[in-house]
Amino acid sequence: MTAVVAPATIDAVARGRVRRAARRRSVIAVLAVLVVVAFAVTLMVGRTFYPPGDVLRVVLGQEVPGASFTVGRLRLPRAVLAVVAGLAFGLAGVTFQTMLRNPLASPDVIGITSGASAAAAFAIVVLGWSGSAVSVTAIVAALGVAMAIYGLAFKDGVVGTRLILIGIGVAAMSRSLISWVLSEAGAWDFAEALRWLTGSLNGTTWEATVPALVALLVLGPLLLACARQLAALQLGDDTASALGIRVDRTRVVVIVAAVGLLAFATAACGPIAFVSFLAGPIAARIVGPHGSLLLPAALVGALLVLVADLVGQFALGTRYPVGVVTGVLGAPYLIYLIVRTNRAGGSL
């Protein structure tokens, strides 16, 4: 059957495919380089500047007077968490946006991230827990919120608009829960409050970073392996099913993996505002509609967090938590999306 097609036509198809893939690969390469550069800058700058040579020696485990403490103990966990959280938020965000076919369906808009944050805040501030107990609390709460939203939105199948509206309500409830937790706790400080409300990398320790890193190493590849299934789900459930995708099973695996990534990252640094929401659309704008957005969006997420943290720390006079900066970036885009949707004729 394929024998009747001229080899030239097949070559043309192959060329087009390779060309589109090449564009995507070069964007990924550029993004990866930018992430490495921003990571290095984060390690170098601060109250004291350390040249790249010193930083490299500290990272490689050598003892450098002064730099070993500042870079190794203070800046390195912060920079690593910035990358890990950015990758996790970006990956989880674009996964939800792709699966629900709507840029507004990102986990920070529909309340999953703030649910995780509320649980983490409760565990740390009220119960006095730390480490993996906090992560587990966050993931249980995030999964619970995800299931609650899904259950509330379900009526003859899930409709994106209803899910988003219910999610926005759940997000508001979670945020008021965070405020309540913080006001109930006796000795709460302002920095801690901001962490759970908008996300912050201030005072990051290895203890907080490692669980998020492990989650990323386990769940990240799992999500990337689902890229083709996710791409098929974009065509609608029926078409995906006709293409041999097990729609329900894929959805469960993908939701659990994405929510897990989010919850572990949120337990470490709070719900860094709008990174999940922004990473996918920015990646889509750069890459174009060619192939999976998972990896590009993850890298955009990491870059957003690193750059926003640098801006928050050094560019504005006062030290702002990273979430304040990303929030300032994200809010106008949210308004733009809603306005555009209204113009396009109503349904989200």
């Binding site: 059957m1 394929t2 009747v4 097609v5 036509t9 097949i10 043309a12 198809v13 192959a14 087009g16 495919r17 589109r20 076919r101 392996a225 083709r228 791409a231 098929a232 974009q234 065509l235 609608g236 029926d238 078409t239 099913s241 006709a242 293409l243 041999g244 995708i245 097990r246 174009g288 509609p289 060619h290 192939g291």
Partner: protein, 281 residues
């Protein structure tokens, strides 16, 4: 290439929630032919198609592909034999024609397998068969309705299945594009022996293009067979609740249904003139 795959429904009962849509239905799809399923709105024709591609699990009975229940076949194995074009598939924003058609290769690819020459050849063949090769680099959302439908059919073709099921493939198309799509499906059937099953709401197009016509009414099989056997005035009355005249279409030799509404109907010679001929003379 001739298809020897058999597709049949056996004592099939289907429904959503409390509602039963199809009851105790037996149906055999003739291999290598074009089958059209017709019936009034909500008679269960799309539901039947969904069950045949296992988008819907049967309440009782089963759908058999080569004698095996489709609900027990591995998803990818089924997708290599049986393709489906749903009524309203969704094209991701900005996706190019070539990329969309390439998605049809999914059932032939493993999780980590690379894109092969065979995949490219299947995409090229699908583009050529649907005359969409020139559109390959265009975005699907800029195409006309007819072009877009051809692209979706190309995606189903890239899947290289011996059976292809289509749910109202001509809806929302103007008449020339309806004919274009049905001609294309006939070409596929003749050139490759692809078994085609489609739900059509236009009775006359169904009678014209199908080798085998299946008429459903209220979830039951009313009649199945060649169009000239199935499409009768009696059938139209039972299935659609409509009085009609069925004549032989002079262009195709197939039956052609002419509805008898309450207006604009000339009284046949010899019949008594009623009050139907109202209006100024």
């Amino acid at each position: 290439m001739t298809t020897t795959h058999t597709l049949a429904a056996e004592k099939l009962t289907l429904g959503y929630g409390e509602r039963t849509v199809i009851e105790d239905l037996d149906l055999v799809v003739p291999p290598g032919r074009i089958t059209a399923i017709v019936g009034a709105n909500a008679c269960g024709k799309s539901t039947l198609l969904r069950a045949m591609t296992r988008l819907l699990a049967p309440r009782s009975g089963q759908v058999l592909l080569d004698g095996k229940a489709v609900h027990r076949l591995p998803a990818k194995e089924l997708a290599r034999t049986l393709g489906l074009l749903p009524q309203s598939p969704i094209a991701p924003e900005g996706i190019t024609v070539a990329d969309l058609v390439g998605r049809g290769r999914n059932p032939h690819q493993g999780v980590f397998s690379r894109w092969s020459r065979e995949d490219d050849a299947a995409v090229a063949a699908a583009l050529e068969a649907t005359q969409t090769t020139e559109l390959a680099d265009r975005a699907v959302d800029e195409l006309s309705g007819g072009q877009r439908q051809r692209v979706w059919i190309a995606m189903a073709l890239a899947q290289q299945t011996d059976l292809l099921l289509l749910d109202e493939p001509t809806t929302f198309l103007d008449v020339s594009h309806q004919i274009e799509v049905l001609d294309l499906l006939t070409d596929l059937n003749r050139a490759r022996g692809t078994t085609i099953v489609m739900v059509l709401h236009d009775l006359n197009l169904a009678a014209r293009y199908a080798d085998h016509l299946v008429a459903l009414t209220e979830g039951q099989l009313h009649a199945a067979g060649s169009p000239s056997d199935v499409l009768t005035e009696e059938c139209v009355r039972v299935v659609f609740g409509l009085d009609s005249r069925v004549v032989v279409d002079p262009t195709s030799g197939r039956p052609l249904m002419l509805p008898l509404g309450r207006h604009h109907v000339r009284e046949p010679a010899g019949a008594s003139a009623g009050d139907g001929a109202a209006g100024p003379a």
